[in-house]
Symmetry: C2
Subunit: 128 residues, 2 copies
């Protein structure tokens, strides 16, 4: 079965969850969504393209910041509704807040504590 | 802000995505969903409780197979709609197919190839 047809886009209204992992360290960088077009564009470009639910369009990660994600390998789970992309994260930061990973808050004693590693200043990168 | 109220359950109809990671190896074991009750039950028990969308009820992972997930640490992302749980996976397998990780299919030359590590025989574990 080809790659796209083995995925189950029906469970989440045409989307699959996409988890980006740093291929070098195994760290989870971010989790977002892909529709079929985003998944196929990702295969075509070799760079990760998500689907933005808020903007309702394809989102070529890093198109603005330059922090694109080069695909190293792709996995899916037993029911095909989530994909894991092992990537090379250009610029060293996946999060729009300039942190290495979006998962920068850790639960400690009943509160979320910021443990993120700041890589860039978002005010500098996203000049408008 | 307390742990639950910082999470955004509204984006996905009362649910957040929950990604379980092997605390010892960093490997992603599975991805499923939690509603607020499942998240709070997870905090209370120190074992992972998901919400099953198909069965529409809480799903204490491993309640049938014995392969529970002991919580080591919990992270959330910048917008609080995904949690990452670093866990100790009892029994060594997270997937109901008896594989170590649910993410056992890798894209190779346009096809999904099974690269999963078989830990147990599901026919033996889920006797009915």
């Amino acid at each position: 079965m080809d790659l796209t047809s083995a995925l189950d886009f029906d469970k989440a209204s045409g989307l699959v969850m996409a988890i980006a992992v740093d291929d070098a360290t195994g760290e989870i960088l971010m989790a977002a969504w892909m529709n079929q077009e985003a998944f196929e564009k990702t295969l075509e470009l070799g760079q990760v393209v998500y689907y933005s639910r808020s903007r309702k369009k394809l989102w070529h990660k890093g198109e603005e910041s330059g922090n694109t994600q080069t695909v190293k390998s792709i996995y899916t789970d037993c029911d095909g509704d989530v994909v894991v992309l092992r990537v090379e994260q250009l610029g060293g930061a996946a999060c729009h807040l300039g942190k290495r990973s979006c998962f920068s808050r850790r639960a400690e004693n009943g509160r979320w504590v910021d443990v993120g590693q700041q890589v860039f200043d978002p005010a500098e990168v996203y000049k408008k």
